[in-house]
């Protein structure tokens, strides 16, 4: 990890490319055109194509049959997580995601439920407006709203993928203990315990 933390680009194999100055006068421009036309750079490119065709060493992924693996921090369609302990929804309806959303695409209706607790009665994300910035996942105090890897959201209906039920971890996935935690920004880091200041308890 240490190597990635070093943001000093001048170290470690980087070098500045020596680029010629642009011609300023007409004669200089003319010379550049003649030079580029007759150097045969075109054939260098064609040669590479030909070489790779013969070798059959293809790097192109034939999507959608083949798919790239996606990093854990990839920000695609939101997911709503459940609690490991009780399988109930994590969302407490605090409204922070609604507030922080810079494209104003999250809205929720809350009410009081029969146990006098706050309940989210409706929750929508307008994916037509979402820019997948990840602020909602970052601000969520319960790690309830996160991003998932589902990026195939082309549809003939705008309303698709905005349903709370769709985003919520299915209960059978929960039963199999197969819910994946989001490891992107806002997630708990491995050192969290060390950073917490302990509150004294009188028990």
């Amino acid at each position: 990890m240490e190597q990635f933390n070093n943001r000093n680009v001048a170290e470690g194999g980087y070098y500045l490319v020596d680029i010629e100055d642009y011609p300023t006068d007409g004669w200089g421009k003319f010379k550049r055109v003649v030079k580029r036309t007759f150097r045969g750079e075109l054939f260098v490119g064609l040669w590479v194509v030909l070489r790779e065709m013969i070798r059959f060493d293809l790097h192109t992924i034939s999507y959608p049959e083949e798919k790239m693996p996606i990093g854990p921090r990839y920000r695609a369609i939101h997911e709503m997580k459940r609690l490991w302990e009780s399988d109930t929804e994590r969302c407490i309806g605090c409204g922070l995601c609604e507030k922080i959303c810079i494209s104003d695409c999250i809205r929720m209706d809350t009410k009081i439920d029969e146990n006098s607790r706050k309940e989210v009665s409706e929750y929508t994300i307008n994916l037509g407006r979402c820019i997948f910035c990840g602020y909602c996942a970052e601000v969520c105090p319960e790690l309830a709203i996160t991003h998932g890897g589902e990026y195939e959201n082309a549809s003939d209906q705008r309303e698709h993928f905005v349903d709370y039920e769709y985003m919520l971890t299915p209960i059978d996935v929960m039963k199999q203990n197969a819910q994946k935690e989001f490891e992107g920004y806002g997630a708990i880091t491995p050192h969290e315990d060390e950073r917490v200041k302990k509150t004294p308890l009188a028990y």
Partner: protein, 829 residues
């Protein structure tokens, strides 16, 4: 009170002598942290965080008074330590549920925790069960409560219901080591905090009060919240619309908090009403009665064409005073142009009363306002069911009683347990109906400067007095010497022997004595008890500012002219300052703007009242009109202030201005008339957009502008007619007054105010009669009859039956002839 200069943190500021340091600092934009203090209320001293150093001594800024030349430091090292410890203590066992708390960031605990910079916790105590209570319209969560007692203070010092108190928490005592290690004030504060939570004074778990919700408004945390608002919205989602409450003449400054109704419905909806609780207190109607808008209104062109036709046909416009000044001006302009008769009985009687009053007083308006009443220390109220006619007048009365240690006399025929419960220094005089004149004569007799009062009045007043001999029993104390025998041990002989000891002691003895006392027949007419002179003497001790509040019973009284003159005489010849309670929201404005007639013509247009063609903001008329929460405009309040109000929610229908334009008045917006109000005596020519609507840190009201009282020629004739003792209302008496939280059909329309319409009888009179709550009865008077259900009301006492006017379907006004009392018979159906 004189102006003095004090020095806070090196800044010279000017303030009143005896002003609390905290208020002086706030007025000058100097920040001193404080949680439990409420402006206008007595200091609670629960939080102790407002510690400052005054001339080298630690004092609490909320109760230390400013003295000339005082030097105040708001922060020293010890004070910072105290503050830090206090905030840590407040955070002990406070649930980390900020995400779902209804305070949603408007939390003083959060603010001060961050302000003081509490980043770790040193203290701990075992928590006890603090589960939430549903108190009816309020929800109390002791878990979130920091026991600052602001709710208790507001209820006691402002509202006067005394419904809340601190009760035992039942927690373990604090660890003994804290006493040594903690800063002193923080420990004392914690010690008290750890012993108490908030509870109800009525011993049950449901509030039985006048439901103003002020306690929830002042709560610095989310412990006390309105049940209707619980978990509906985060505060930051709401847009504040500054406005003026449209329910009664108090004209309280409120803010409508609006947001889209739901995910499906992007239309704005009012979620709650907030107020600047340091400077204005709302009643239940203002706080919970906000959704009276005319929501379904559309631009119905046929109805509009019909309305224009009706206006062309009509010769009379009948309206209620629940309209803005601008609308009143439009009506007046229409009257000038087309010669309509404007009919508004309730405003007409107030207008006449003001005119009659001005003949003697020399000014068009009463001199005082509720703010002055609040600062006075002796208040008399005559002719108003004060708690329901104008809740703010009652708050002023209560505030004067509790905070100024004042006293009050409440003249009214209907027994009112709420008023009686305000303080022990208020004396209710439940005289017979129609005796308001006697009450005013009584006030003249007691308080007027007889050397200046016209001689015929002095003579008339003297005619009520006679001397009578009464036998009184007095208790006197006498010194009695007793001889007691005691057994004592003789030290020399070692034997017990009897010794006689003389003991003197005081013994009280009852003696009968005949004395001559003054007998005031006015007192007898009013039904004042014999002890009254002594009681009054006690009440009047140390009183120097006097206020007289008069109300609608006088305006509609058969002898209202005489009453108006008496009121003016009280003002002229005694120390009393007068406030008159306008009957409805904008009665004062209408009375000043409109020239009113008393008789209707052949074809009448009604505005918010049923007529041949009805314009209604209630949504039940022939053409829809906007309700007060849907329009911009100004309202004239009891404090003689022209207050601007804003549209909280949209309105899609036609307005009165559209009709006026169709009839040829040619003004683009209704609020263009605001400036034109200046043409009316008393009003100022200011455009609507130039009117502010806020309070400054010093509590100064920057709202609209004050009406200017015009001086009129004084008539030298100060004669008043004598009391007509033959005028009486007997047997079963009915009285027109609303239950608490109801004023008009608009309050009746709201969802949160669920008072039942019906015939209100006190619990006491119900238990004495054959009626039960819920019985359907017929009430018949000389003027009419109505059939409705009996509603038991524990907020009134005595035998007078109260008929509400908030439900126009009940048509209770038809039973009386102007004056709010009438004789009636009540029979079961």
């Amino acid at each position: 009170m004189s102006k003095i200069v004090i020095n806070i943190d090196g800044k010279e500021i000017e303030t009143q002598e005896g002003e609390f340091l905290l208020n002086a600092a706030r007025a000058n934009d100097i920040f001193i942290p404080a949680i439990c203090y409420l402006t206008r209320c007595s200091p609670t001293l629960a939080c102790r965080i407002c510690l400052v150093e005054a001339d080298g001594k630690q004092v609490y800024a909320c109760n230390a008074k400013a003295k000339a030349g005082m030097n105040i430091t708001t922060s020293t090292e010890t004070i910072e330590k105290e503050r830090r410890a206090i905030m840590e203590v407040y955070d002990v066992n406070h649930p980390l549920q900020c995400g779902v708390c209804d305070q949603s960031g408007e939390c003083e605990l959060q603010n001060y925790t961050l302000e003081i910079g509490v980043d770790s916790q040193t203290y701990a105590v075992k928590d006890v069960d603090r589960s939430a209570h549903d108190w009816g319209h309020l929800h109390y969560d002791p878990g979130l409560c920091i026991v600052c007692e602001r709710c208790v203070t507001a209820c006691k010092d402002m509202i006067g219901d005394n419904s809340l108190k601190t009760i035992a928490r039942g927690a373990d005592a604090l660890d003994a080591e804290f006493k040594e290690t903690m800063p002193k004030d923080a420990y004392a504060m914690w010690n008290k905090l750890n012993k108490s939570v908030i509870g109800l004074t009525n011993g049950t778990d449901v509030l039985d009060c006048t439901s103003c919700g002020e306690c929830a408004a002042v709560c610095p945390v989310g412990a006390l919240v309105d049940t209707q608002f619980m978990y509906k919205s985060n505060a930051w989602e709401l847009k504040q619309v500054p406005a003026t409450c449209g329910h009664c003449s108090a004209g309280c400054q409120i803010s409508y908090d609006v947001k889209h109704a739901s995910i499906e419905n992007p239309e704005d909806k009012i979620y709650r009403v907030m107020n600047e609780w340091n400077y204005v207190s709302l009643c239940g109607a203002g706080r919970y009665g906000f959704d009276y808008q005319n929501a379904e209104a559309t631009k119905d062109e046929t109805a509009f064409a019909n309305a224009v036709e009706a206006f062309k046909k009509a010769d009379t416009i009948k309206f209620t005073s629940t309209i803005t000044n601008e609308e009143a001006l439009i009506l007046e302009k229409l009257k000038e142009k087309f010669g309509y008769k404007l009919v508004n009985d309730e405003a007409k009687s107030f207008q006449t009363f003001l005119k009659d009053y001005s003949e003697i007083s020399g000014s068009t308006l009463y001199r005082s306002d509720l703010k002055e009443s609040m600062n006075s220390n002796f208040i008399v109220s005559i002719g108003t069911a004060i708690k329901t006619d104008n809740p703010n007048a009652r708050y002023s009365l209560n505030n004067a009683l509790t905070v100024n240690k004042g006293a009050a006399l409440y003249f009214h025929p209907v027994v009112d347990p709420i008023i009686d419960g305000l303080s022990k220094n208020i004396v209710s005089i439940n005289h017979k109906p129609l005796q308001e004149e006697s009450a005013l004569y009584f006030i003249l007799d007691l308080f007027a400067d007889k050397s200046k009062l016209p001689t015929d009045i002095v003579e008339y007043l003297a005619s009520f007095h006679s001397t009578k001999t009464v036998t009184i029993t007095e208790t006197i104390k006498e010194k009695v010497i007793e001889i007691l025998k005691e057994t004592k041990l003789n030290e020399e002989t070692g034997e017990e022997e009897e010794v006689e000891i003389e003991k003197s002691k005081m013994v009280s003895k009852k003696v009968s004595k005949e004395v001559e006392v003054d007998d005031n027949r006015l007192a007898t007419i009013l039904g004042v008890n014999d002890k009254f002179p002594e009681t009054l003497e006690k009440l009047l001790k140390k009183k120097d500012t006097f206020s007289l509040i008069v109300g609608p019973d006088l305006y509609n009284h058969p002898n209202s002219k005489n009453l108006a003159r008496l009121v003016a005489l009280v003002e002229k010849y005694s120390q009393f300052e007068i406030v008159m309670i306008p009957t409805l929201t904008n009665t004062l404005g209408v009375a000043l703007i409109n020239e009113l007639s008393s008789e209707s013509g052949k074809y009448t247009i009604g505005y918010n009242t049923k007529a041949d063609f009805t314009l209604s903001a209630l949504g039940d008329g022939d053409l829809d009109m906007p309700a007060i929460n849907q329009q911009e405009g100004t309202l004239t309040s009891i404090n003689k202030r022209v207050n601007p109000t804003n549209a909280a929610i949209g309105y899609d229908g036609y307005t009165l201005n559209d009709i006026a334009n169709a009839l040829g008045l040619e003004v683009e917006y209704t609020i263009d008339y605001t400036k034109e109000l200046g043409s009316i005596a008393g009003f100022t020519a200011l455009a609507f957009d130039d009117l502010d609507n806020f309070y400054t840190n010093a509590g100064e009201e920057v709202r609209g502008y004050l009406l200017e009282s015009q001086s009129v020629e004084v008539t030298p004739d100060e004669s008043v007619s004598k009391i007509n003792e033959s005028l009486i209302i007997e047997n079963d008496i009915i009285y027109l007054a609303n239950p608490v939280r109801q004023f008009t059909d608009f309050t009746n329309k709201t969802t949160n105010l669920d008072e039942e319409s019906g015939i209100y009888m006190s619990e006491e009179s119900l238990s004495k009669s054959d009626f039960n709550a819920g019985d359907t009865v017929v009430v018949k008077s000389a003027n009419g009859e109505l059939t409705s259900k009996i509603v038991s009301d524990n907020k009134i006492g005595g035998n007078i039956v109260v008929l509400p006017t908030f439900d126009s379907n009940l048509n209770s006004e038809a039973l009386v002839n102007g004056y709010r009392f009438a004789t009636a018979s009540i029979q079961k159906v």
